[in-house]
Symmetry: C2
């Protein structure tokens, strides 16, 4: 049983960690902007919490004057999206209190202090909002004793956050209801289902300021004449096919759909008016490199996926990892030391066959990749019961 910490009769606290997820069937476009109901189902892999996570402490205090939030050490505005999450949690808490005689204090109308940090560079464009909102909702759930599926609440913060509420392989179903109550995440396979799966994030150096994904997908919904067809005709079949590929651990098919989905997301962005571009030349070099690698082997041993930025996410099975890392090192030599460049899970770099390197015909680009994170599929959010873990002090302020 997960516990909040009672600091005093007037102050309670809870802390959680939550993972990042990477979509392989992409979410792009909402049918309801306010409720964050997506135009199509999507599917993601939850990344291991040790390598990429948000950590959040929430405190509820009788004496707090207002809801406040600190993100990565800086106080920020409590946005409408955060308010929506708080509203939903408080509502469910009251319902719970009303139905059960817990003997617990009902502090659902006290104010909250929220403090959240990421264990990875925020500026790297690694979609920290999914982990952040999942972590907020998880810690609030613990604090307010809210049980059951919380993914619909996380969804109100950031759509993709709902998928970070589960570990393993997770589908976000768009649902049928107008109120979005059935637009929730479902685990389709647990974290240990496909233990050979490896994920390598390549953080691409770029100075360009991208169109934000919220704004980008809204513009796509309004102007792309391909998005609706994608959402209603293409994605449903791909959801079925990739689910089957995951269930059967068919990497070739998994990789094919993953790459097609990434490309179609960016195709829809290009079809937006004015057009949106997220991939840069380094991203495209990675695309070509992956296809050449697969052509060499005559099967898909490697897949790429790109979100609303130039960073690449690579998928492969364990037995290809060391070769892929050595190719990354060859293609994008870094002036950092290996331990700064290859972060995340420890991994050895092999020596690729000479014929492979010749076939790939790489022109090395020094420092085109800032750093990489090697990881694998992990669990959903976890509550941290040890009071030492709190990142708010006993007065409810950032330590």
């Amino acid at each position: 049983m997960e516990h909040r910490t009672k600091i005093s009769d007037n102050l309670y606290m809870a802390t959680a960690r939550a993972p990042v997820n990477i979509a392989v069937v992409k979410y792009w476009g909402k049918t309801n902007e306010e409720l964050i109901i997506p135009a199509n189902d999507s599917l993601s892999l939850t990344l291991h919490i040790d390598h990429l996570c948000a950590k959040t402490t929430v405190a509820v205090g009788r004496d707090f004057k207002e809801d406040r939030i600190w993100l990565n050490g800086k106080e920020e505005r409590v946005t409408t999206r955060i308010q929506n999450c708080l509203l939903e949690i408080r509502k469910r808490s009251r319902e719970f209190m009303h139905m059960h005689n817990t003997g617990l204090p009902d502090y659902s109308d006290w104010h909250l202090h929220i403090c959240s940090v990421n264990n990875f560079p925020t500026a790297a464009g690694l979609a920290s909002s999914a982990a952040g909102y999942a972590c907020l909702v998880k810690s609030l759930g613990t604090l307010f004793h809210v049980k059951g599926d919380l993914s619909a609440i996380a969804r109100r913060g950031s759509g993709s956050a709902c998928r970070s509420m589960y570990g393993g392989f997770v589908a976000w179903l768009k649902g049928l209801r107008q109120d979005g109550e059935d637009s929730v995440a479902k685990q389709i396979a647990p974290e240990n289902h496909w233990p050979q799966m490896r994920i390598v994030l390549l953080v691409v150096s770029d100075v360009k300021k991208d169109t934000g994904s919220t704004q980008g997908m809204e513009l796509s919904m309004l102007t792309s004449s391909l998005l609706e067809h994608r959402a209603t005709k293409v994605v449903p079949q791909r959801m079925k096919d990739i689910t089957e590929a995951i269930v059967n651990r068919n990497f070739h098919k998994f990789a094919e759909i993953t790459m097609q989905e990434s490309n179609q997301l960016h195709a829809v962005c290009l079809d937006t008016y004015p057009p949106i571009r997220y991939m840069n030349l380094v991203s495209w070099d990675i695309v070509h490199l992956v296809h050449r690698y697969n052509r060499y082997y005559g099967t898909n041993k490697l897949a790429y996926s790109f979100d609303a930025g130039p960073n690449a996410c690579l998928f492969m099975l364990e037995d290809s990892l060391s070769e892929v890392l050595s190719i990354v090192q060859h293609a994008f030599p870094s002036s950092l030391g290996n331990s700064d460049f290859f972060r995340g899970a420890p991994a050895v770099r092999g020596k690729p066959p000479v014929e492979l390197l010749e076939y790939l015909n790489i022109t090395p680009q020094p420092d085109a990749i800032k750093f990489s994170i090697v990881t694998h599929v992990g669990c959903g959010p976890v509550s941290l019961d040890d009071p030492e873990e709190h990142i708010l002090d006993i007065h409810g302020f950032p330590r």
Copy 2:
């Protein structure tokens, strides 16, 4: 009446010039590869023949041993596509001879010598095949006295060549027949319909070898899950809308559809598996520059279009030309002299308002554009009756 030249009883000759065209509703994908029947209608502007054209002389000789062709001074293989054009012309010539007693010799079974040159650099990626095949078919039509619409024959050489068979604003209708006989070009407005229209081609410096458009569109047909929707659902409405915009000389709407069409072509290429990219960073800089320019004026005064390569085609009305040229010069300063950089029609460069330049916030990129061609809408292919124009000598060999 257009005439072939009789060199002797055994050798006849005809020469023509034919223009390049730029599609604003794009052709991408065939439903019949061999007959070159397109997946959707398309629409283009024919560019002025003085600034971009092919010139072709065809000679038919009793003593020629085989069909031969010289392109830009070099003998090339007579490809299947060229053979298909020759076959169709010879067939129609025989039909004509059979029906009319012309007193002319029937040389439809003699061999042909073909010589063709472009008045622009072939390597610049300016889609020379459209002008080339239109010119071949026009000159053959004159030589063999074939009357009527020849666009279906030009289509067998290169799909977009059929649109170069007419001047002004030209639609290529995909047609309904299995044999492609009704897949022909139709002029929707003559060359003098919208005299203010100006076109500026920007030849982008690039070393990359692109996927050829024939191969690219075949792969898109096979693998893109968006192409069919585009071809069957999106393009029909755009054909109607842009035709109306042209008829009413509504530049704002014309520009909007032109840019959306360009973007959708490249979106479909991205949705192809493996994905195809034609636009480079300079192409994207032009895209962003055009949208900023239009935003400054609050209406579309400028449009871009990109084909299977990084070169941009800009459309604007006469009263914007000098300002646009000065912005091009500002954004892409050239180490060439002005007369080498600005080719085509003579045009003055104005001085853009300081506020506009500030708004555009351009980072100049020296020599990112190799050169430009300023032009306008022009006529279809023309026969050149003066024997001095022939580029084959009196023996039927390149001069």
